[in-house]
Symmetry: C2
Subunit: 140 residues, 2 copies
């Protein structure tokens, strides 16, 4: 039947797959919403990361890279596209001129606000299923 090598059961695989499916549903919703708002999915994620940076953390290129879990030089390229799209402005940190701080334009603020409201709604809709799966994660 199963043909499963280590201790993994078919239910383990299904649970992992189901978790990924829920993630993909959320991400697909997010991608569609961003596209409808005239942003690429990554641009939307970047705007949110900049606006939602933890307290006391400056929205620099490097910190953006950390929050998106990409390499710093990929964040540079993302910042290029954001700036070119008129969503972000670069300013050099006067205290450390190697650092580049990113600020949202009013246009970006507005689009992010609308998108964030939608996302909070979708999250409320999906969290029950996500919670159900995650709570099983610890138990055998």
């Amino acid at each position: 039947m199963g043909r499963n090598a280590p201790g993994l059961t078919d239910r383990d695989y299904r649970r992992l797959a189901e978790f990924r499916f829920l993630l993909r549903r959320f991400l697909a919703f997010s991608e569609a919403a961003a596209t409808a708002a005239g942003l690429t999915p990554r641009q939307h994620q970047a705007l949110l990361a900049i606006k939602g940076m933890p307290e006391g953390v400056a929205p620099t290129i490097g910190h953006l890279a950390e929050r998106l879990a990409i390499r710093p030089h990929s964040a540079v390229e993302l910042a290029d596209r954001l700036e070119q799209a008129g969503l972000v402005r670069r300013t050099h940190d006067p205290a450390d001129r190697r650092r580049v701080v990113l600020t949202l334009t009013p246009d970006a603020q507005a689009r992010l606000a609308a998108l964030s409201a939608e996302h909070l709604g979708e999250l409320r809709r999906l969290s029950p299923s996500l919670l159900a799966i995650l709570e099983h994660a610890d138990t055998k």
Copy 2:
């Protein structure tokens, strides 16, 4: 201070951003693990989706597309790459010859088993933080 248009507070933005950050951490872990196992991230996700298909659902190209939330013709291309990499075999469904059923090769089985064990561990590690954020999602 805030300059937030609709009812969104800075804490809302931070919560959304933090959620995305946790997702990215999990996904980055997954991408690294897949790459280390000699798979692309998408190939790994596909293998899991095929192996973890819900009971009674055949692992066809179309169903793979559904579970990964991509277009059917993108799943075709993914199946091409999987087949070429020796991870998957195509067989026509005798009951409906339009359908193509995907089956994992032994090599794919083995790699997926190892990866899935790692992922279950990582999920156990991350679920507390995810649960913490999701449980706040309903409350104002």
